[in-house]
Amino acid sequence: MYLRKTILATGVAISALATASFAHAEPTAEVLHWWTSGGEAKAVAALKEDFEANGGKWVDSPVAGGGGDAAMTVLRSRVLSGDAPAAVQLKGPAIQDWAEQGALADLNDVAEAEGWDKVIPPAIQNVMKYEGDYVAVPVNIHRIDWIWANPALLAKVGATEVPKSWDEFNALADKLKAAGITPIAHGGQPWQDATIFETVVLGLGGPEFFQKAMVDLDEDALKSDTMKAVFDQMRKIRGYVDADFPGRDWNLATAMVMNGEAAMQIMGDWAKGEFLAAGKVPGKDFICSAAPSDNGYLFNVDSFAMFNVSGDDKVAGQKLLAELIVGQKFQETFNLLKGSIPARLGVPLDKFDDCAKKSEADLLAAQDAGGFLPSMAHGMALRGHLSGAIVDVVTAHFNSDMSSDEAVSRLVEAVELAKD
C-alpha cells in the first residue's frame, strides 16, 4: 500500500517535470476509450471535433479488445507509472474504486459553473460523485429492460402489443411456440443471460426488491421466494429460446427478430441501432416496449472519469472536455449516434426517434416512483467481483437443469464468498 503510493507520487512528480515546459500550450486532453467501431466510433469522433472546435488538442488513445478489459489493463499500468490519461471511459462502481485510490480529479468547479446538479438525474449523480465531489461525467443513458418485438410475428398469434405482465408474456410465448415461432431471440453469453435475469428480477420483484437484491445484496432478498420465482421464470424463458443460442452474439439475436426468425428479444437499447441501421421504422417494422415491471427502469450509463493530471494545459483540457461532454450539444449529437438518450435532462428530443422519447418519458416516471435503478448485468450496481459472482450462478442455472432452490442457495453462497 505504502510502496504503491510512493510509486504513484514519484510518477506524478516525474510527469510534472516533463510537462512543465509545455505549461502554456493549448488545452490538451488524452482520452482512453474502447469505442472503436460503428456508431460508437462516430460518437467519439463527434466529441473530438467538438473539443477541437473549442481550441483543445485531442490525444486519442483507443484500446480495443475484450469489451474494455484491454483498456483497463492499460489504465492500471498508466496509473501505476504516474502517467494517467486525462479522461478514461469508465463506468459504474469502477469510478468509486479509482476514486478510492486517490487517482481521480475533482470537477466541482466545472459542475457548479455548469449547474450539473440541476440537469443530471440524482441516481446518476451518485455514480459520478465520490464523497460528494464530481469525479466523472456521464455521456448517455441506455435502458436495459426493453423488449424488442417483430409485430408481424406477434400478429400471427393475434397479439398487437408486447405483454404488460410476465403471466401474459408466458401465455404469449406459449402461443408463439405452439405456432412454430421461436418466441425469444437470445444469445447464450453470460452477460446476455444476466440481462434477461435482471429484467425478470425487476419485473417480478418490483423496484424495491431489485434494490435490495441486486444493489444492497440483502441476504433475505437473495434467498426469498421471489428470487425462486425469478429462477422459475428463467427456466421458462430457457424453453422459449431456440436450440442454437449458446455463444451467439447479441446483434445476431437482434437480426433474428428483424428477419422474422424469432418474435422478441430482451436487450438494452443498443439493439435499436441494429434495427435503425437496417432501415427499419419503430412502431411499424419493430416494436420497442418496456419489459413488464412496476415503473421500473434499469439504466446503464457510460461515462468518462477524469484522472489526476498535472500541467496547466492538461488541467485546462480536462475541464474543457468535462464541460463539453455534459453540454447540450454533445449530449444530443453523441446520443443520436449511439442510440441512447442524453444523460442530461431537458435536452430537446426533436431529432430522436419514438423509442428514445419513450425512454425519457419512462425515465421521469420511474424516477418519481423510485424505480430508476442501476443495472447489475452491465456493471452499474455492483463492483465487478460481486456482479461476476451473481452472473456465474445465473448463467450456470440457465445453461443446465439446476433447480431454482439450488440456484438460490448457490447465489447466496457465491455472494457471501465474493463479499469478503
Binding site: M1, Y2, L3, R4, G66, D69, M72, T73, R76, V79, L80, A94, D97, W98, Q101, G188, Q189, P190, D193, D242, A243, D244, F245, P246, G247, R383, G384, H385, G388, D392, T395, A396, F398, N399, S400, R410, A414, L417, D420
Partner: protein, 302 residues
Amino acid sequence: MGASQSTESNLTASIQRHLSKIVVAPSFAASLFFVYGFILWTGYMAFSKSRMLPVWDWAGLRQYERLWQMERWHVAIENLLVFGGLFIVTCLIIGCLLAVLLDQRIRAEGVLRTIFLYPMALSFIVTGTVWKWLLNPGLGLESMMHDLGWTSFKFDWLVNSDMAIYTVVIAAVWQASGFVMAMFLAALRGVDQDIIRAAYMDGASLPRIYFGIIIPSIRPVFLSAIVVLAHLAVKSFDLVIALTGGGPGYASDLPATFMYTMAFQRNQLGIGAASAMMMLATVMAIIVPYLYSELRGGKKNG
C-alpha cells in the same frame, strides 16, 4: 610495444573465451527478470489482498481458500483433468497409429505427412473458430446432415453444458496429433533396421514386431510427447476462448480462462494470482520429474 601487443591479444583472447557468455547474457538477464521475476511477483500477489491494483498487504492463504471455495474453479479443474487426460491419450494413440501407417514405405508419404502435420501450423484461434462453425448445430455438421435428409442426426455437444468440453478435446486433438505423429515417425525411422530384420527372420508377425520391439524401443519419445502435450493442455486458453468462449455458462472453463476472468475482468488480482500459481504447480508436477530424469540420465551418459 611488445607489452601493448600482449595486452591486446590477451583482451582478444578473453573476449573470445567469454563471447558465448556475453552473447547469451542479455537474454539470460531478460528471462531471469521477466519470467522468473514475475513468477515470484505473482507468487507474492497470491498471498496479498490485491483486488483492482496490486497491493502488498499480507493476506496469508486467504486467496487460496477463496479460490478453492469457488464452484467455478472446481469446474475449471475438472475440465482440465477431462480435457488433459483425453487430449494426451487420444493424441498419443492417433499420432502413433498414423506414424506406424506412414512408416509402411507407402507412396505419396511426403504429401500425407504434410497434410497431417499442417494443422499444427494454424494458430489455436483459427482452429477454434473453424471448429465452432463445424460443430454449431445450426450451421455445421448437424444442419448439413439434416439438409441431406438424415433429420434424426443430432450432434449438439457445442451447445450442451455437459459435453462442451469434449468439443475442445476434438479440436485440440485435430490440431496436435499430426505433431505427435511427426515425433513418432522420426523415432521409428531411428530404430535399428537390423533388429527388425532379425525379428522377421525369426518369423515374428508385423504387429508383434511393433508391440514387442519397436514401440518399447521408442519409449523416450512417449515421455517427450506427454510432456509437450501436458503443458499445452494446462496453458490452453485461446482454443477455448475461440471455440466455446468458456460456455455454455462457464461449463467449459479451464484454469487459464478462469485466471483471465478473475484478474482482468473482475478486479480479483489476488485470486487470479492464486489460480496462476496452481497452474504453475500443475506444470511443475509434470516438468520437474521429467527434467530430473533427463538430467540424471545425462550425467550417467556423460
